[in-house]
């Protein structure tokens, strides 16, 4: 762990191997002005920006190698297939060295969880079974389970949160019962920033024979992830929040489970033999990749992962701990500004939600936008969590590799100016 003086941006910028200015220069979109100000992009939990190399990888695919994969026997099809499968292997290494067959390319985290809610639901869930989620889930890891519970007359339970925005595990042993078939939770909360003790919960779930799923949409972009060490059966995340293209996600699943599960989407590519009265499935992972996948996206995602790992996921996590600590410290000094979630940067990520007692998050967002600062305002697709927090909405600033203390300073300054502007 680093010990360093607070409020010292020079220290943050001199992080060994972490040159924010150099990184920033790799992202063409960040050099623009918005409303007459330098763009300060603090909406990374919604979607990250893309470095030039990723944009180039997409263009290169369409300029040189575009063809459908796994089918054609011509040169372009072979190149495209090989690059697509190469990316799958790259992802497998990125999440802890799993088998490439355990990596399914999806449309995103939402698509991954929907696949699971259908395939696991068909295979394992019957009336009276229990599904355990948490109170802090994003709708992507909530609505599919609500729907599954309704479909199968199963019971949906939830782990509550403490007032500090952590999971309240006091009654975990009562919440996970012999009837619990699925435990699904966010690795990191998109609202509170909380990093949840996934491995502890996975162990408790497995003791009772449950299947454990982590929604890694907010964690995978920001910290080293080893799905085996986490002990989860499934892990879903999205490429676009980690420098990759939109429309692509990854679902990791344990091989034995993937082999027994029925497919979700059916059609081309996911089959072995098709008759009018009988169909056999392709092997994994293809069984779960019906139709033409987002080929360009998958190929460019490998470039995004290369970029992240050149910086180093450990370094990224350390940079974000420093910057989050700095931001929370600065924001806490603004009188009456309320920060949601844990305040200790060691146990949370860089998605920082806050509210002003007098100014609605939408007004905050509109005002900050006039200063070139992009944040998110609203319920962040987590309405049950908002109810638990007693808020209708929050403002959220979320940081990434190209953000620095200057960006945080600009945010703080703009909030002060906003209060004068609204005069409340």
């Amino acid at each position: 762990m680093h010990t360093r003086p607070k409020n010292n941006m020079a220290v943050i910028e001199s992080e060994p191997g972490f040159a924010v200015e150099k990184i920033k220069a790799d992202f063409p979109i960040l050099s623009q002005k918005v409303n007459g100000h330098r763009l300060i992009y603090l909406d990374n939990a919604a979607s990250s920006q893309k470095p030039q190399v990723v944009i180039n990888a997409i263009a290169k695919y369409y300029q040189e190698n575009n063809a459908n994969i796994h089918r054609g026997l011509h040169a372009l099809a072979e190149r495209a297939t090989s690059a697509y499968e190469h990316s799958r292997s790259r992802v497998a290494r990125f999440i802890g060295g799993v088998n490439p067959e355990e990596v399914i390319f999806t449309g995103g985290t939402t698509a991954g969880v929907n696949l699971l809610s259908y395939s696991l639901g068909e295979q394992f869930i019957k009336a009276g079974d229990e599904i355990l989620i948490t109170e802090m889930e994003h709708h992507a890891n909530l609505v599919p389970w609500v729907m599954l519970a309704k479909r199968k007359n199963a019971i949906l339970k939830r782990i509550p949160i403490t007032k500090d925005g952590l999971l309240d595990l006091t009654n975990l042993n009562e919440l996970i019962t012999n009837k619990t078939k699925i435990v699904a939770l966010a690795h990191m909360s998109n609202v509170l920033g909380t990093i949840n003790p996934v491995s502890e919960i996975a162990e408790a779930g497995h003791k009772r024979g449950a299947i454990v799923i982590a929604d890694g949409a907010q964690a995978a972009p920001h910290m080293p992830v080893n799905v085996r060490e986490l002990g989860v059966d499934f892990y879903a995340f999205s490429a676009h929040k980690m420098l990759g293209p939109t429309g692509l996600g990854v679902l990791y699943g344990r091989q034995e489970l993937l082999e027994t599960l029925p497919p979700f989407l059916t059609g081309g590519e996911m089959i072995r033999e098709v008759y009018f009265d009988k169909i056999t499935w392709n092997e994994i992972p293809h069984k779960f990749e019906a139709g033409t996948p987002p080929i360009a996206g998958a190929i460019a995602f490998e470039t995004a992962i290369d970029y992240l790992e050149r910086i180093g996921m450990d370094n990224i996590r350390r940079h974000e701990i420093d910057l989050t600590e700095y931001a929370i410290d600065k924001l806490s000094q603004i009188n009456r500004l309320e920060i949601q979630g844990p305040l200790d940067a060691q146990i949370r990520g860089a998605a920082i939600s806050f509210t002003d007692p007098k100014i609605h998050p939408h007004d905050i967002s509109t005002f900050l936008d006039s200063k070139g600062i992009a944040i998110r305002a609203g319920h962040h697709c987590a309405q049950p969590l908002m109810r638990a927090l007693g808020k209708v909405a929050t403002a959220r600033a979320s940081l990434y590799i190209y953000n620095d203390a200057d960006d945080v300073d600009a945010l703080v300054e703009a909030i002060m100016e906003m209060r004068k502007y609204f005069g409340v």
Partner: protein, 160 residues
Amino acid sequence: MSHELDLMYRDVILDHYRSPRGRTPIDKSDFASEGHNPACGDDISLKVALDNGTVKSIYANCRGCAISTASGSIMAEILKGKTIDEAKVLATNVKQMLKGEEHEFTDNVGDIDALEGVKKFPVRIKCALLAWITLLEGIKNFQTGRSQEVAVISTESGDQ
């Protein structure tokens, strides 16, 4: 400060936001409606009491951003003394104004024109619309003999 920002957050708007009108609860109303904007959690509850076919008192309790609060306050101020039909025409015109459609105010519009700056901020138009579509929903119920029900409307429902 950005000129467009000042066009939306005019002094008149900020004044209504800081001290909104129509916040005195009324005991007896002739119709009531509730509006909700699920995108930002804003909501408004509206009660209207009539006297001889004209608005006698109005309670517009709006919880939300500066724009939806000011819009509800402006509405509460202007509606007093108007007939139901006048209120309906006015609300329809405000809707058209906010959506950039042709409209023609035939009446005293009070501070309504201060809302026009919102047009420059497409994501905020629904904030300004909330109070007015809630009023229209209440009027619809009243005019179709369902005034004992509380009409409920969302900015996300149907053709708003």
